[in-house]
């Protein structure tokens, strides 16, 4: 290249050429009557290049806490592992599991200390504690919101379209999981930054459970069956 690549926000730039290390991503999580569904895609893109189709975007902090990954993969993974450490220390010192509110606050306070230093993290901290289901959105400028439904990433708008149309508080587990699956499928269909496969988790009072990995190509043909000739 005529110019040596210079680091810019979320990537590298050389003249007009720009590579974004940012995850195109879709992550979503929502509470419902019987638990919390966490549904994410698995694509890592570097500009127009699909670097990986098998990224684990749900980080298992402990058997009762999950974190989703959006933004810089290294940042998300590293700081959520630090969060796991802190949660374990809390449990040892206080002889009880940390609440989702406290865990998300620990992360948010750490990220606020690094505000302006270029961290790229958009995460949801999901879990079940003695106050019930907990869902917090935490990001790199120190934002921390509690809520019943969040979608994060380049495909979030498509996911919101499906979620906002079909979401109800009273759903069975299967209905909720299907909603999570469909929302990710639609995001992967339209967003180039999201795709490959869908990882589904279900969070209940006794902890999280990995439901399955669903190839979005298969989901496509499932939802749009080709009529038999």
């Amino acid at each position: 290249p005529t110019e040596l690549p210079q680091p810019v926000k979320h990537g590298l730039q050389s003249g007009n050429l720009r590579i974004n290390f940012n995850h195109g991503t879709t992550c979503l999580a929502f509470k419902y009557s019987n638990g919390i569904v966490v549904s994410v895609d698995s694509r890592a893109s570097a500009g127009a290049y699909i670097a990986s189709g098998t990224v684990k975007k749900v980080i298992e902090i402990n058997p009762f806490l999950l974190g989703t990954m959006a933004g810089g993969a290294a940042d998300c993974q590293f700081w959520q592992r630090v969060l796991s450490q802190e949660c374990w220390l809390y449990e040892l010192r206080n002889k009880e599991r940390i609440s989702v509110a406290a865990a998300s606050k620990l992360l948010a306070n750490i990220l606020y200390n690094y505000k302006g230093y270029g961290l790229s993290i958009g995460t949801m901290i999901v879990g079940w504690d003695k106050k019930g289901p907990g869902l917090y959105y935490v990001d790199d400028d120190g934002t921390r919101h509690s809520g019943n439904l969040f979608a994060v990433g380049s495909g979030s708008t498509y996911a919101y379209g499906v979620l906002d149309t079909c979401y109800r508080w009273d759903m069975t587990d299967d209905e909720a999981l299907e909603l999570g699956r469909r929302a990710i499928y639609h995001a992967t269909y339209r967003d180039i930054g999201s795709g490959n496969s869908n990882n589904l988790y279900l969070v209940k009072p006794d902890g999280w459970k990995f439901i399955g990995n669903y190839d979005t190509a298969n989901l496509h043909y499932q939802y749009n069956p080709v009529a038999a000739e």
């Binding site: 010192r93 206080n94 609440s99 509110a101 406290a102 606050k105 620990l106 306070n109």
Partner: protein
């Protein structure tokens, strides 16, 4: 050059081990506690009580300014025996920590946490250069978020333990023996029982009279903690009741003897 010389004097720790394994500074601090005015703590079934000996105030002194019980948060109170000035420092640090915990964890402190925190500070000062240990033992009472009352005791060494009933300060041994004899979970199941036991215990070593005792109750009504320092009239009435009960018991003993 002379500055360096002065600094090196503070490089040595003050609290060091003796050849037979004692930390004399800590033990001397415990002696200071034994000279302080008595404080009693009782964990009841649905409340926690603190009673402290009020030193007779000088004539010109405003006795409202001499408060030996401090509120650390709306659900935690502390009484102490020992150096009042040292207590002020710990009370301040504990109050800030209670608030800080609410901010970072979005939950009020548990009694165990704040007892651990206060004890942790005290321990640090037994292992720091140029510092001496705190000369006080504290009694911490309050309610955890789950609605259970607790009583913790810390001492100058930085040790902390949970108690059902305890006393610190002058004559603490006498009071503790009295409590060991008289404390039963049934006797303190209700608030009046717990208050009366605390009063009886402190009256073992303090002259009877509302002006000699301060008593505080931490109760929890519908999940809302409430700290009350009993007014003097209520104290006098309770003390009169206890006197009457004592008389009745003495009568019964005399009757049995004959």
């Amino acid at each position: 050059i002379s500055q360096k010389y002065i600094m090196s004097r503070y490089d040595r720790a003050i609290t060091v081990f003796s050849p037979d394994g004692h930390l004399f500074q800590v033990e001397y601090a415990q002696e200071a506690v034994k000279k302080g005015s008595t404080a009693v703590g009782i964990r009841g079934g649905n409340c926690a009580v603190l009673a402290v000996e009020k030193k007779a105030a000088a004539k010109l002194q405003d006795d409202r300014t001499v408060r030996k019980m401090a509120l650390l948060d709306n659900h935690v109170a502390m009484a102490f025996a020992g150096l009042t000035a040292d207590a002020r420092i710990l009370i301040n640090r504990a109050r800030v920590e209670c608030k800080s915990h609410r901010l970072t964890v979005e939950d009020p402190v548990t009694l165990e946490y704040i007892a651990r925190f206060v004890a942790g500070i005290k321990q640090k000062y037994t292992q720091s250069t140029g510092r001496r240990p705190f000369g006080l033992s504290t009694l911490l009472v309050g309610f955890n978020v789950d609605g259970t009352p607790h009583l913790y005791c810390t001492d100058p060494s930085g040790a902390y333990n949970e108690w059902l009933a305890n006393a610190v300060g002058k004559n603490d041994k006498t009071v503790r023996e009295f409590l060991e004899k008289m404390y039963t979970p049934e006797s303190v199941a209700d608030e009046v029982g717990a208050i009366k036991l605390a009063l009886r215990a402190i009256l073992e070593v303090v002259q009877s009279g509302a002006k000699n005792v301060d008593l505080g109750v931490m109760r929890c009504r519908d999940g809302v903690p409430e700290w009350e320092i009993l007014p003097a009239e209520r104290l006098s009435a309770l003390m009169a009741e206890i006197e009457a009960e004592r008389e009745a018991e003495a009568e019964k003993k005399r009757a049995r003897k004959e």
